[in-house]
């Protein structure tokens, strides 16, 4: 039984197992990237689709099989790393197993070797006639540190998997919400309120290429019952951009997507009217009359999301997105006599300039309340752990190839023909670096370095 268990563990910690596991993970990962997304309608037979979904093969990376493989990989990595630690600490410098006669030999004065090792600042240990000289000893731990780093990342991922969540909220311009929806369909209360004051897609000039997605948010901490009495609501504004998420109480909010929700009832046109250099803001619904100045009234009677003007003055719509939103302004006198019927384009300010004829200038800003912002909401206490893993791997990876750990075992002996001579065994790592300790030693004994 014991032997079987030992065999099992030694297989689990073997490089062979590591290779098998990596190969299977690799094959599944390739398959996952090549197989298009599937749903129930993909399969003609219900049984097949049941099997596929039961195994989680519709999304390989979250399937039980894939995650079990990662767990096995982690297990293998832990055991391999432990083996490496044991090897580095105990076996690497264990001289009892070395049969020096199998290794290199050279005739050289013992004093010369020892003084060389001292000059080159090797750490020297002498047991009887065997010298163990090592240099850059930290180098033997860097590989262990890299492997530990990978394990730390996996640990961070596990923490995120257990304690974190990832969800979405779509909030219409002007309204607010406080519950995120997870991909599983569950609802998660956030504990604070997100109000979207305004959402804009900005475009590069004269193109339909977006330059920014911006949500103007107000975050309000929901006061508890106790707080409610003191009326102590915490509230702040945040301009949310892509690539600059908002962090609040351990929850991260990202600008993720956007969309349209057309409701004529709540939608408002925002614009400014300037008369004699005095500007006034308006919020007006579709078809609603508003007073521009004495004896002049206006009405918005049409809207186009992306109006373009050609050279001959013809209008065309270039996109469904609000690239250059425009309104049709109809202005009339108190008596109902129409005086202006004109398209105002938000990006061509001149289109609303009626200063010469009627003494006012109107600047269209946007149609408010028809776009929603898609926020992705995330809580992941494991991220910091993952980043720690990243840092450890980065540093240790660089150090691994800069530090040339070398250990030289030298058996001082004598030969009747040549006098003083040594047997030697060099263990070195295959690294970069100009000053390689092993090379200095090879130079001393006048031997070309054999690449290992």
């Amino acid at each position: 039984m014991k032997i079987k268990l030992y065999k099992f563990f030694s297989f689990l910690s073997s490089s062979k197992f590591a290779m098998i596991i990596s190969a299977v993970i690799l094959i599944l990962a390739v398959a996952g990237s090549l197989i298009p997304k599937v749903d129930e309608s993909t399969f003609s037979s219900k049984q097949v689709s049941d099997i596929v979904f039961a195994l989680g093969l519709d999304n390989i990376y979250t399937s039980v099989i894939f995650i079990s493989l990662i767990v096995l990989f982690a297990l293998n990595l832990i055991l391999c790393t432990l083996k490496l630690i044991i090897f580095d600490i105990n076996k690497l410098s264990d001289i009892s197993n070395i049969n020096f006669k199998e290794h290199g030999r050279v005739a050289i004065k013992h004093a010369e070797v020892i003084s060389f090792l001292e000059v080159c600042k090797f750490d020297i240990k002498q047991e009887g006639d065997v010298i163990t000289a090592s240099k850059n000893s930290f180098g033997k731990y860097t590989v262990i540190i890299i492997h530990t780093g990978i394990l730390i990342i996996l640990l961070g991922a596990l923490i995120g998997y257990i304690f974190g969540f990832k969800g979405y909220i779509n909030i219409l311009e002007g309204s607010s919400d406080n519950v995120a929806v997870l991909s599983t369909g569950e609802f998660v209360p956030l504990g604070f309120d997100i109000k979207v004051n305004r959402f804009d897609v900005k475009y590069y000039d004269n193109t339909t290429r977006p330059s920014a997605f911006v949500s103007d948010l107000t975050i309000t901490k929901e006061s508890s019952v106790v707080d409610n009495k003191s009326n102590d609501n915490q509230s702040f504004n945040y301009i949310l951009n892509v690539n600059s998420p908002l962090e609040y109480e351990g929850i991260y909010i990202y600008q993720h997507s956007y969309g349209f929700y057309l409701n004529k009832k709540d939608a408002k046109f925002l614009f400014d009217v300037e008369i004699d250099n005095i500007s006034k803001k308006y919020e007006v619904r579709y078809g609603e009359s508003f007073k521009i100045k004495d004896n002049l009234f206006g009405k918005i009677t049409d809207f186009a999301p992306a109006l373009a003007v050609s050279d001959d003055g013809k209008f065309s719509t270039m996109s469904d997105e609000m690239v250059n939103p425009a309104i049709l302004l109809e202005a009339y006198t108190m008596e109902g006599e129409p005086v202006v019927r004109s398209w105002l384009l938000s990006k061509q300010k001149a289109s609303g300039d009626f200063t010469e004829d009627y003494g006012f200038k109107m600047t269209f800003d946007k149609l408010y309340g028809v776009q929603y912002t898609g926020l992705s909401i995330k809580k992941d206490p494991g991220t910091a752990v993952v980043y720690l893993g990243f840092l450890i791997i980065s540093i240790a990876l660089i150090l691994t190839y800069l530090i040339n750990y070398t250990i030289i075992f030298i058996h001082l002996t004598k030969d009747e023909e040549t006098g003083e001579m040594i047997f030697y065994k060099v263990f070195k790592q295959r690294r970069f670096g100009r000053s390689v300790p092993a090379q200095m030693f090879y130079k001393l004994i006048d031997k070309d370095e054999k690449d290992i």
């Binding site: 980065s394 190839y401 690449d451």
Partner: protein, 337 residues
């Protein structure tokens, strides 16, 4: 000013340099070698001109220097990759005085540039979409590309390794290098034919081309090691270069490609890892090279087996770099147009 003219000219000069690098090996002439190097340098200068012109054009539309580094779409990344490959190769050549790797470095750089026009990668100057407006763009893309270049150079060195160690036609190592070189040459010729006649190259023609090249190389390739005999005295040195290129690529790829990429993804998508096709293939690339590094430590793999992984790694790298963008869609799809 148009950057494309400079780019195409640089591609042409790289291919010319390739011919001279080859001649210098065949005729063992250092003079021709110097000429090849000079041509490469001219190619790089022209490539740099194209790169700088593009920066200026981008700056005009974006108004920000940081957002004007042309590495954001397929056209720009192919151009940048070719330039980076030649720059790093030339640094290597000046440092080591070894010229043979120039044959395939210029060949790959030339292929990349012809590829731009073959697949009609749009060359329009377009400013960055919001998700790419980040300082991580330069760090992540630049470092990933440097890593790809080192992987490419390691594969090129590996091809020479196999040319030198293979013994006769029965040796599988012989077939390995003949196949790899045939693929490269077929690719280059098909692209040139496509460029000259502006016609779709049919797969059947490619296959015929490949068979012709493969067969002729297979039968006459026996003499080729002779031309690179300068290396054959020190095959360990060549092996060492393969290793050094791979290690450099691996370190830079781990940090710049995977870790910086993950941090950026966390910052803009809210997930440091989401198994997007690009991420998946980057992971596969990383696994293959990690396997190379581990396999070198085990005695059960001989040097040839290990160096074959370097060539395999290059194929995976190319798929990660180009295949994913051209064939699969995902979060990294902005690289495909």
């Amino acid at each position: 000013m148009n950057d494309q003219i400079f780019l195409q000219l640089s591609g042409f000069i790289y291919l010319l340099a390739m011919v001279f690098y080859m001649s210098s090996a065949i005729f063992k002439s250092t003079k021709i070698g110097y000429f090849a190097t000079t041509l490469s340098v001219i190619g790089v200068v022209l490539g740099l001109c194209a790169f700088v012109i593009r920066i200026v054009l981008l700056y005009k539309v974006s108004g920000s220097m940081l957002d004007s580094i042309p590495i954001a779409n397929l056209y720009e990344s192919l151009q940048f990759f070719a330039l980076l490959l030649m720059v790093i190769y030339l640094v290597f050549e000046f440092a080591t005085k070894i010229k043979v790797l120039g044959i395939f470095s210029t060949c790959v750089a030339g292929i990349l540039i012809i590829l731009i026009s073959s697949i009609n990668a749009p060359a329009d100057v377009k400013p960055l979409i919001p998700v790419l407006q980040s300082n991580w763009l330069i760090a992540h893309v630049l470092l990933s590309f440097i890593a790809y270049v080192f992987f490419t150079l390691s594969a090129i060195a590996a091809i020479f390794y196999f040319i030198l160690v293979s013994k006769g036609r029965q040796d599988p190592k012989y077939s390995l290098w003949v196949t790899t070189v045939s693929i490269l040459v077929t690719l280059l010729l098909s692209l040139i034919i496509h460029l000259l006649f502006k016609q779709m190259i049919f797969i059947s023609i490619c296959i015929v081309l490949f068979i012709v090249i493969f067969t002729s190389l297979f039968y006459y390739g026996n003499n080729i090691p002779f031309y690179f005999s300068a290396f054959s005295k020190d095959i360990n040195k060549l092996d060492r270069y393969i290793y050094n290129f791979t290690v450099l690529g691996f370190i830079i790829f781990t940090i710049g490609g995977l870790i910086f990429g993950a941090i950026w993804a966390e910052n803009s998508w809210g997930r440091y890892w989401s198994w997007d096709p690009k991420e998946t293939w980057a992971f596969i690339t990383w696994l293959v090279y990690a396997f190379y590094l581990h396999a070198r430590l085990y005695k059960r793999f001989d040097r040839s087996a290990v160096n074959a992984i370097a060539i395999l790694g290059f194929i995976v790298t190319i798929f990660t770099f180009l295949g994913v963008n051209l064939l699969l869609s995902g979060l990294h799809s902005y690289g495909s147009n």
